[in-house]
Symmetry: C2
Subunit: 207 residues, 2 copies
Amino acid sequence: MKNAIEPKKRKPPAERREEIVAAASRLAVAEGLERLTLRRVAEELGVVPGLVNHYFPVADDLVAAAFGFAAAAEREAIFRGIDPLAPPLAQMRYIMAHLLDDSADATSLLWLDAWQATRNRPLLRAEVAAQMRGWQDAMISVIRRGVAAGVFGVADPRRAAMRIMALIDGFSVQAAMRSQIVYDAVRDLVFETVARELGLPPGALRP
Amino acid sequence: MKNAIEPKKRKPPAERREEIVAAASRLAVAEGLERLTLRRVAEELGVVPGLVNHYFPVADDLVAAAFGFAAAAEREAIFRGIDPLAPPLAQMRYIMAHLLDDSADATSLLWLDAWQATRNRPLLRAEVAAQMRGWQDAMISVIRRGVAAGVFGVADPRRAAMRIMALIDGFSVQAAMRSQIVYDAVRDLVFETVARELGLPPGALRP
DNA sequence: AGCAATATTGGTCAAACGACCAATAATCAG
DNA sequence: CTGATTATTGGTCGTTTGACCAATATTGCT
């Protein structure tokens, strides 16, 4: 019984690092990138601030990693829920439903934080750009499948995906203002415009 | 010659207050809302930080006022440049050209800052909401004029304005990422979609 | 002219932050 | 088993921030 309060435990570096990023990601989603500090992450894990600083000598690295973790996790969760055997229209409807869900609020705020913070954090900007590319690639492949199946009338899947993502970005801004009236109206706009972009009838994507 | 360096001058409170807000607005546009602090504003004006604090005992008030000033100034500058005798289509094309101009970068970044900062600043959120309403109202009246003249095919001007503004918000996000390729593609999307929203041919608004 | 009001100064204060560092102890290689 | 490595601790340091305050000087009112 050397230390009755807390035995000093040591974890393999890779595991500890992942643990830190996960905690930081949780904090980022819950309270925003602004409040993501070394001290808060350390407190969340029950370790000393210096330890977090040991793994992330530059704080911006941690912010970028936390955002990347959260964004990738959410994207993968959505795409993991897709039935690969479902028709492309159903797949697209599933994606849109989750992106424009009421529960997407926290994610929208996180993205908004990230876009703003890229202004002064080059590392975060690279990570945000990478995550946006990840979304775009995923969207492109879904569109391609729809085109191959003959249900989407799209000439250039890549450009269509870019336009759809831009629309959803605009939706995130509205979500941040928390005006339910605007929120619903813009959601309708996104559903309609995306449907039109894919050569579908106006209500084809609405849940 | 009591003080050879700087004579202590006193200005009428209203004028001084306006001077402070103007300086803060300048700073907000140039460096972002993040770097808008009492000290920087004071330095910009050549006064002591305590003086700024005297006029704005709560710093959030100054941030909200600075954003409101900048946003209102830009909006009024655009609408003042509109020829009231020009046909509605030309008016709309003028507005869109200025909103999606390359020089709109600084403004886009300011709005992005503001949207993000509403998360923790209720006063700023109210100001942002007010400015968004201002834009929406201005847009509605232009649309109404076009509808009255029979050149815009719009059923509900209010909803059309909301949708158009949401599209432009999405464009601001892309502008913040500074990827020229995406930037141009999204600009095309906005031009096309707004034209479609107003019942115009696809290229009607492109400059 | 004299007085009240207050704009303006100059300074302090505590809080929070990232960065840094020496000391300790757990882990692993030889 | 022994020594090298390094994860982890606990603490300091300088910076920046918003807030606060007493003292002073200017303005406006009577």
